[in-house]
Symmetry: none
Subunit: 321 residues, 3 copies
């Protein structure tokens, strides 16, 4: 991990970790989908399940990313990725992150055509049945979120501190060759890194301290982003608990040089951030002041997600971030 | 020049060239200012004079950047930088860019303290007098523009094509270690590269073709941007001639983790872009439709700059971009 | 040199320097091979001779890289590259590195076809004869090493400190557009930078201190790595002297989307690292404990290389790293 991978306090950006996770997922699923003699394909990211950042990673540490295919349906691959941080000076290793990603194989000849996935071999019989359940559950959720199309973030003149308008931020990015696969669409990991960057700026503007990513809600990739697009990534705070902030991030793609195609929503997700003191302890967060009806509605929805997740965690007796 | 330095059509971004120019300027002026035994210092970019992009540079070409100190005042250094492109396959070399930059030496112990510059030795006596004139002229202009503080770009819902609102864009960037000198402030070249990126997106959104930077107006750096800031770079089209577009770019710095400091204007400039066909010929540009009083005023001011520059060029019998 | 070019202690990675050296070599040899009117070509790195890192380079210093063609055979070019570091604050300049590289011109129309090299003009007659000897010597060595195909590094559960298994490491990299020449194969310098990165992680894991590259054994590039490959770079410690560590690095390329091509060994080399105290003095190194027969054999071979190099140095009365 290098200086540019981290914030000023030396904590590696959650987005850097998400980008590595996705690279590992893309390699293993592309390799699997090409393992039989058939039409050549490349795996495109369709969805990342909710993931928690369990412990921070720092500059100078070595990241270990391991990936395994855990389920295949006819047209999709489920990949489980684990990230460990290793301090090579002390030898300490910590689990940083566990993530589940879904990929879809696209034909190299025609990236709009989805190919069939060779079946994976399971070591235990139950694995297939468990995978099928996860597959059905995410399929349902993807369809639901496809229509949950939040509107674009609108700026406001001279906003008051602690309001949504005060910290909302947006970023435009001209897609470059390094952002893309060889087949001309943006790596899912690149999009996630930009999403985390915007969410981090929103969180830092709100609480003016050192902030780190605590978790990311499931991210659905509704559509590919092609080379030559301009993408707009917008973030706004939706909810604050005592010690955490939820930020909604929207990704819109704009095919600037192609008049025939309209701007479209490519992805969206909720990021949860916490604020850290100089000693790395979590700090209280200034409470968000929702102003408009929409903001109040989004605050309540965020509270719902927060309480649901809290209940789940307590049920599993896992530590809270 | 690599794929990442260029747009989809293979033309190297003007911003990439500006960044190389500034890197050369910073090296030669830092070296000069430390050439006598005194307090150690680092040269900070204060101003770049208007510069034209004379011929395009392409992926695979080698850039040659040479810098020379042409004048020193008590507290500033003038550097002349030339950029040549070389096609190493054909051997062709072309002058791409000539630029004049002004640097100020800041003490390493206290970056708010400006040190004295060792005098340069002139080969011809007239050089000092000519340099002094350039120095006085730029000093005057810097003071004038310090107060030309354009307002922030405000978005508009569902803008019509060819209006200012339709193509205006803004980008936020969290300053990272690689953006900065060792002494904790952003390299002028990094800022210029981001400014060109935003201007390019505005131009591409307006005319939806391959666009390239034709020239950059003088850029004044009003204040240093420190590590840990978030910078907002906003661009809006101000004027179109038959075959060129002028885009105003504003840079604002926001010290997110430091409550005591307010957001401030760090730099601003006008970029001129042209639109190119697939064969590299310049294309007509859709005419800008100014709507508000401010937009109409800025259009007239842009027209003034355009006509003045055209007259100057014809006086010097130089080819138009 | 920027923060990302260096380790946490501020020493520039040997791999960053190797990458710059190769970039200079590729430019000068591509230019030379296209200097006559014939089929256009691009120079591909075939071999780097053993090179020592004579003095460390630090963040903020300026690197000067100069290259010269010193010999041409019918199908290859020998380039000598010197690297100087300059501290622009104090004016100090130091020789960092001298390296000799061999390039082969590949046709742009068909990168599997090697073209003829225009002869270089020698200023002294002996130069041609001396070059021919170097050419013959390296040719012989390249053929020998082509078959010295070390096996892949195998992980071991819960290894003991100071064993080979304890520090061995491997890295997977998906080749992207910026890693490649315009003609779709990976720059030799990119590969060397990754090799040094893995070697550095092995060395740091072994001795848990600040480590720097002292030298690199001759590197042979057996085969091009094409765009779209996944490369695996593996490193394992082979030998330790009192104050140095030798690490073997293997590069394997895996064409993930092309079933017809098998995984192949693309390059291999030995890196020597030393351990430095905070004051920059060289520290004793924990002794490596070879366990298996293969490890013991490799340890003896490493010792042989070490003693041979030591004898050579003492013969030339040059300082030891």
């Amino acid at each position: 991990m290098r200086p540019d991978d981290a914030n000023v306090a030396g904590n590696v950006h959650g987005g850097t970790i998400l980008k590595m996770i996705e690279e590992a997922g893309a390699i293993i699923s592309t390799r699997h989908c090409n393992s039989q003699n058939g039409e050549r394909c490349v795996a495109a990211l369709a969805r990342v399940e909710r993931t928690d950042f369990l412990s921070p990673m720092c500059i100078g540490e070595v990241a270990h990313v391991s990936a395994e295919i855990t389920y295949t349906s006819k047209h999709s691959v489920e990949v489980q990725v684990n990230v460990m941080s290793e301090n090579i000076l002390t030898g300490t290793k910590k689990l940083t992150n566990k993530a589940t990603l879904w990929y879809v194989p696209l034909s190299l000849k025609n990236v709009d055509k989805v190919l069939e996935v060779p079946p994976v071999v399971y070591s235990r019989q139950e694995q297939e049945e468990e995978g099928r359940k996860r597959y059905e559950a995410q399929k349902l959720e993807r369809m639901e979120t496809k229509w949950r199309n939040g509107d674009i973030v609108q700026p406001v003149l001279n906003p008051e501190p602690n309001t949504v308008s005060y910290s909302q931020s947006s970023l435009i990015h001209l897609v470059g060759p390094s952002d893309c696969t060889l087949h001309g669409f943006v790596h899912g990991g690149v999009t996630m890194k930009l999403m985390d960057e915007v969410a981090g700026i929103v969180a830092a503007r709100h609480c003016k301290t050192n902030i780190v990513t605590a978790s990311v809600d499931a991210i659905n990739f509704h559509d590919k982003i092609r080379k030559g697009c301009v993408i707009t990534i917008s973030g706004r705070m939706t909810f604050t608990s005592n010690k955490s902030m939820e930020i909604e991030v929207l990704v819109d793609a704009d095919p600037v040089v192609d008049n025939s195609q309209k701007r479209y929503r490519a992805a969206s997700a909720f990021f949860t951030y916490v604020s850290l003191s100089q000693e790395g302890k979590s700090l209280p967060v200034p409470q968000l002041v929702p102003e408009t009806e929409d903001e109040k509605k989004r605050f309540e929805e965020g509270k719902g997600r927060y309480l649901q997740m809290k209940a789940k965690r307590q049920g599993r007796a896992e530590p809270q971030p």
